[in-house]
């Protein structure tokens, strides 16, 4: 573990930029390519890289396994919840136009929330799967 100094420092330098890029892909999806799915993968890749370089316990200090597993259903709940709220506010399921008085702004908010739901589920799933794989010793 002491020998991979270059790896550790390079990884440390790269990690914040990876998270930045994930959020860029997430919130810039209105204008460029990307969205919740890609951003979720990139965010999960950041945690996985951290786990590979610094060991599983260090990664689980950043994102506890419990949290990752909790994120898996949470994203679906966010997504479906936005749809249900739209229904409660008098529109159809997943019709974001009714979320705010201005229908275009309502759409923007709806898309943003839904993309966050996708991000949460995808990154949670990837991190949880990585943890369970990496947590098993050589059989």
């Amino acid at each position: 573990m002491k020998l991979d100094l270059i790896l550790r420092i390079t990884a440390k330098l790269m990690l914040p930029f990876m998270l930045m890029f994930a959020f860029y892909v997430q919130f810039h999806a209105d204008y460029g390519p990307g969205g919740g799915f890609q951003a979720g993968i990139i965010a999960a890749a950041m945690v996985i890289l951290y786990g590979i370089i610094f060991g599983l316990p260090a990664a689980q200090k950043v994102v506890p396994a419990r949290l990752a597993e909790f994120m898996v259903p949470l994203g679906v709940v966010i997504f479906a919840g936005v749809g249900a709220i739209a229904m409660l506010m008098g529109g159809e399921f997943l019709n974001y136009s009714v979320l705010l008085s201005d229908s275009v702004r309502g759409q923007l908010i709806g898309i943003l929330l839904v993309e966050i739901g996708v991000l949460v589920t995808v990154s949670g799933t990837m991190i949880a799967i990585f943890y369970t794989f990496a947590g098993r010793g050589r059989g």
């Binding site: 892909v25 999806a29 209105d30 204008y31 460029g32 390519p33 990307g34 969205g35 919740g36 799915f37 890609q38 993968i41 990139i42 999960a44 890749a45 996985i48 590979i52 597993e69 898996v72 259903p73 994203g75 679906v76 997504f79 479906a80 749809g83 399921f93 997943l94 974001y96 136009s97 229908s103 275009v104 702004r105 759409q107 923007l108 709806g110 898309i111 839904v114 993309e115 739901g117 996708v118 589920t121 995808v122 949670g124 799933t125 990837m126 949880a128 799967i129 990585f130 369970t132 794989f133 990496a134 098993r136 050589r138 059989g139």
Partner: protein, 183 residues
């Protein structure tokens, strides 16, 4: 064309390679080339997904699986004749199917005439999102994306359940010989 040729070469490499580490790396290379092909076809979103999922996450997951298993493929016991026949027939049927498809990229293809023009014309007006891919994915086709998210959720839960179940069994196994030795 160059990319497709390289991809074919990588596929041959995957088939001939017995060292699974090499196979995993070649799989990653294949995914990156697939992403480049998708870039050439102007499908940037799909290219991004392919690069991050296919080349990134899957390679890492395959490597961690490799850590758990042997790193050399065992020599097959049966002849590869039957699988070969099945894949050749499947490939033939698929190629036959593509003959009926409309020409690639023509403006009067059915896909471009159904709902696409409406999305393209009304997207900014109705959702305020300049990137039509995003507005279609999460607003017009919100149901589909909700379904996709549910698929990811279901798959994740399934994999987690399978792996967890195994671990519990392994914990239970050493308990039995202990009891036996006590007798």
């Amino acid at each position: 064309m160059v990319l497709l040729t390289l991809m074919a070469a990588v596929t041959v490499g995957v088939v001939r390679q017995r060292n699974l580490f090499g196979v995993v790396i070649l799989g990653g290379i294949y995914s990156f080339m697939m992403a480049s092909v998708l870039m050439v076809l102007d499908a940037v979103d799909v290219a991004m997904t392919e690069a991050s999922v296919g080349a990134g996450i899957s390679t890492v997951l395959m490597l961690s699986v490799l850590y758990l298993t042997k790193s050399r493929e065992s020599v097959p016991h049966h002849t590869p004749l039957l699988p070969l026949v099945v894949s050749v027939i499947t490939a033939g049927v698929l190629v036959y199917g593509t003959l009926d498809l409309p020409p690639f990229g023509a403006a009067d293809n059915p896909v471009h005439l159904n709902t696409a023009p409406r999305y393209l014309e009304k997207s900014i007006e109705e959702t305020g999102v300049p990137n039509v891919v995003t507005s279609v994915l999460s607003s017009y086709r919100g149901y589909d994306t909700l379904g996709e998210t549910t698929v990811v959720f279901t798959a994740g839960i399934g994999v987690l359940l399978l792996l967890r179940g195994r671990r519990r069994k392994r914990k239970a196994r050493p308990a039995r010989p202990e009891r036996g030795s006590a007798k």
